[in-house]
């Protein structure tokens, strides 16, 4: 049961991480270029939004460490790597917290 609970906690965190990355790209596509069918990303804004979304959406009990965050203006893309750490019920018996590496990537394509 604890294995299932740990998996659910990881899945919840993974969903929030991926959602934050996708939303940061989606929210920072520069609107003034859309009419010309050009997709350009405000990379600085996307990075700031990603950090803001993680800070606001990630529940207590998780420690997120971002090791690198890179973005490209065209094609609009954001890549984030880092680790996420959370504890399990077995911590009280001396087991270490679970630390899992992650790489997130969000790219915005124009669907023709």
């Amino acid at each position: 049961m604890e294995t299932g609970a740990a998996f659910e906690r990881y899945y919840a965190a993974e969903t929030i991480l991926q959602r934050s990355c996708n939303s940061a790209v989606e929210a920072n596509i520069q609107d003034e270029y859309r009419a010309d069918n050009i997709l350009r990303l405000d990379v600085r804004g996307a990075m700031d939004d990603f950090n803001g979304f993680i800070a606001s959406d990630m529940p207590d009990g998780y420690a997120v460490i971002i090791t690198s965050i890179e973005g490209t203006e065209s094609p609009p893309s954001l890549t984030v790597t880092g680790t996420i750490t959370f504890s399990t019920l077995f911590k009280q018996y001396g087991f270490d917290d679970l630390t899992i590496d992650f790489t997130l990537k969000a790219t915005n394509y124009r669907v023709i």
Binding site: M1, E8, Y11, T15, N22, S23, A27, I29, D57
Partner: protein, 146 residues
Amino acid sequence: MAALGKIKGLLRDKKGDEAVSFLLTTAMLVLIFLALISSMIYIMQYYNASYLCRRVVRSIEVTGLYDETETMDIISGMSNDNLEDIDVQVDAVYLSGNKIQLRQAFSVTMTASYRIAVLRFGESPIQIVLPIEVKVAGMSEVYHKE
């Protein structure tokens, strides 16, 4: 009178007492074990329902749309026969139609029931219907131009 005396004698007789005690204890242990297995199966079904609900939420998140037909397709494609009367309620603020704006939160509540057959006498088993309710929150990842 002789029969009554024989019964009284049998009741006083302690021979086989341990064997009867052993049989009753074994029967109780088997029942407890079966109850535990049934509980575990119910918990497994709860996890299944939880996973199913999260998949529905993820589908709405990445499309930014609540499409009832697509939701029911996901459920019918992934649910097993043990979950019955599956119902999905989506609580969201829509931008227009079924569109949910970027970063707009919504929640999906899935209700279902699971039957445990306690005893089976021929074609009419005695069953307990246990409810399952899962609520998962999500957030749209799609920007809809207003």
